[in-house]
């Protein structure tokens, strides 16, 4: 059954203003659709502290993948203001997670909703400068945002003493030059400063020591796009949109060999099966679902038996995966899991920033083993080495979440599809080191 979504202001805060022809909603149309009214309300009717509390009460969680409370993140910014120094709001628009295509939609079609969200967030944390860090490959997004920022400046929403409120804020567009790691919070800050995008050690956290050492808050595009409706309609309204303990709506979707791949604004608590069957219209003819990733390449695989789980941070986490970006990907029965994981790990190895050894050396090692298994040339202890590498690259063992994210699909693929890994082991090959107590040499050349 094909369920058609009727986007309404009351139920679809993120997408109700979108046009059916998918063209950009520029400032005039956005204003006619109640745009910037939340910002005007905030400037004259509520205090920054109220705005933080409202977002905290709404339960809004970061939509970049980690799901940290947005209001709490804002409240970590120091309250004391040094009027001589900037404090920064950074919009993370470096969408590069394989399988994720949600921020592009919001940037290209509703840029002013994002800008209004940035302005409201900046007002709440008393930021005076903001940057939208956009990945360099989003060419249309760059054009749309440049034009929209200028429109907002011309309308008096960006600049000095905005709408006679005493609030000052400048917003700039900054485009990247390629590298997945730029999406990591502190790596993004380094990249913005004109350095290699290596993550920074925490603490200190960006809230106290971020861009150029100043208080800085980094929020995702979808997170910021949620803020205007929360400010306008209140936290209870926002909570009631959801069917689960996670509040509000979320851009969710399914890609892969499904009949109608796409992205839709749906309430938390909807099941993956509903998305797959009612919106993505099931697997293509002749294919069946073998596995799925809930939210991007860095999330653990789940199986068809998990399809009835509620799509929210808590439930998916309990099932052994992560909601991530909630843009799910369907793996069909014709796909070999070792080959698929090889593709994913090659990506993570290529995109490791190289700063810390476990990630820099561990991921290429994973790739080499997977390549040999894919070629049916694996050795008897290869799966054991992969499992050991999963531990060596797990959370807390590396500088940032790149490697822990990378091993999530690997560990879950071994868990659910171990026989396919065993099929890759050549009967003619045996490991020299049966116990795997130290570093083993690799006989394969690494080529990407």
């Amino acid at each position: 059954m094909n369920k058609k979504i009727v986007r309404m202001e009351e139920t679809h805060p993120l997408t109700w203003r979108m046009r059916d022809d998918k063209k950009t909603v520029w400032i005039e149309e956005y204003s006619n659709k109640n745009g910037y009214s939340a910002f005007k309300k905030a400037l004259h009717q509520i205090t920054p502290k109220d705005a933080i509390n409202l977002v905290k009460e709404s339960g809004l969680k970061g939509r970049g993948g980690a799901g940290f409370s947005t209001g709490l993140k804002w409240s970590l910014m120091p309250e004391k203001i040094n009027n001589k120094e900037h404090r920064y709001l950074l919009c993370n628009a470096d969408e590069m997670e394989p399988g994720t295509y949600k921020d592009r939609l919001l940037i290209e079609q509703l840029p002013h909703q994002l800008i209004e969200g940035i302005l409201l967030s900046a007002f709440a944390i008393q930021a005076t400068r903001g940057y939208i860090f956009l990945r360099g490959e989003y060419i249309k997004g760059e054009y749309v945002l440049k034009k929209s920022i200028q429109e907002a400046i011309n309308s008096g929403y960006i600049g000095l003493n905005i709408l006679n409120s005493g609030f000052n804020f400048d917003l700039f567009l900054h485009t990247g030059a390629g590298r997945y790691i730029c999406g990591e919070e502190t790596a993004l800050i380094n990249s913005l400063e004109g350095r290699r995008a290596n993550p920074r050690f925490k603490p200190p956290f960006p809230a106290t020591f971020g861009l150029w050492g100043k208080p800085t808050c980094v929020n995702n595009v979808e997170t910021l796009s949620n803020v205007p409706s929360i400010i306008l309609n209140g936290s209870n309204w926002y909570k009631n949109l959801s069917k689960s303990s996670d509040t509000g709506t979320k851009l969710m979707g399914f890609s892969g060999k499904v009949n109608n791949p796409g992205v839709w604004e749906l309430p938390f608590g909807i099941t993956a099966r509903e998305i797959l069957e009612d919106y993505a219209l099931g697997m293509r003819s002749g294919l069946s679902l073998k596995a799925w990733q809930p939210g991007g390449a860095g999330t653990d695989f789940l199986t068809p038996k998990h399809l009835d789980l509620s799509m929210d941070f808590t439930t998916i986490s309990k099932a052994g995966s992560r909601l991530g970006t909630a843009l799910a990907m369907a793996v069909d029965n014709e796909i070999n899991m070792v080959s698929l994981v090889y593709n994913i790990e090659k990506f993570f190895a290529r995109e490791s920033c190289g700063l810390c050894t476990p990630c820099r050396d561990g991921l290429p090692w994973v790739v080499k083993i997977l390549r040999s298994l894919k070629n049916k040339d694996g050795q008897s202890n290869d799966i054991k080495i992969l499992e050991q590498l999963c531990i060596s690259l797990s959370p807390g063992k590396t500088f940032c979440a790149h490697a822990p994210g990378a091993i999530e699909p690997l560990q879950s693929a071994i868990k659910y599809f171990r026989s396919e890994f065993e099929d890759g082991i050549s009967i003619n090959k045996t490991n020299l080191n049966k116990n795997i107590t130290g570093i083993q040499s690799n006989k394969f050349n690494l080529k990407f």
Partner: protein, 159 residues
């Protein structure tokens, strides 16, 4: 004797214009590399030195940035850059066939440039176009739902 390398006044102006957006000039480094590359196709050693002078940071600093980011080319490239998405959804929907047909038709491997300098072929991370995969980008244009046949027809429009 080779002529001295100088940045054009346009390039210098474009770089200088960026300075007012940031607290530190170092932040312009990536944008400066992109500005120069847009004019010249790639970033030479001499360009690195000239950019470092404008930003008042060392040339090796600029070099370290130039070699980190995948969109900065440190050797000459073709007139048209083909970047095929090799991420997981395009894998599921068959980017390998697209890659194979491109490599065969252009007689080059990924990372190389055709003899006539018309095309350079590179892989790229997920282009955020998964619901229309497989997908590639040629220069600044995104192309969706490709087949081995359609991708070859597409090349005809890039001279």
């Amino acid at each position: 004797m080779s002529t001295k390398f100088v940045l054009s006044s346009f390039e210098i102006n474009e770089i200088e214009n960026q300075k007012k957006h940031y607290e530190s000039y170092r932040a312009i480094a990536i944008e400066a590399l992109k500005i120069v590359q847009k004019q010249r196709g790639w970033v030479s050693n001499q360009a690195i030195v000239e950019i470092s002078k404008i930003l008042n940071i060392s040339a090796s600093d600029v070099e370290s940035i130039a070699t980190f980011y995948s969109q900065i080319y440190r050797q000459p490239v073709g007139r048209n850059i083909i970047r095929y998405c090799d991420s997981v959804v395009c894998y599921l929907t068959g980017y390998q066939k697209i890659k194979k047909v491109l490599e065969k038709h252009l007689s080059i491997q990924t990372g190389h440039t055709t003899i006539d300098k018309r095309f350079t072929l590179l892989p790229i991370c997920c282009l955020g176009n998964c619901d229309h995969s497989p997908t590639i980008m040629i220069n600044e244009d995104l192309h969706s739902k490709l087949t081995p046949e359609s991708v070859l027809n597409l090349l005809e429009s890039y001279k």
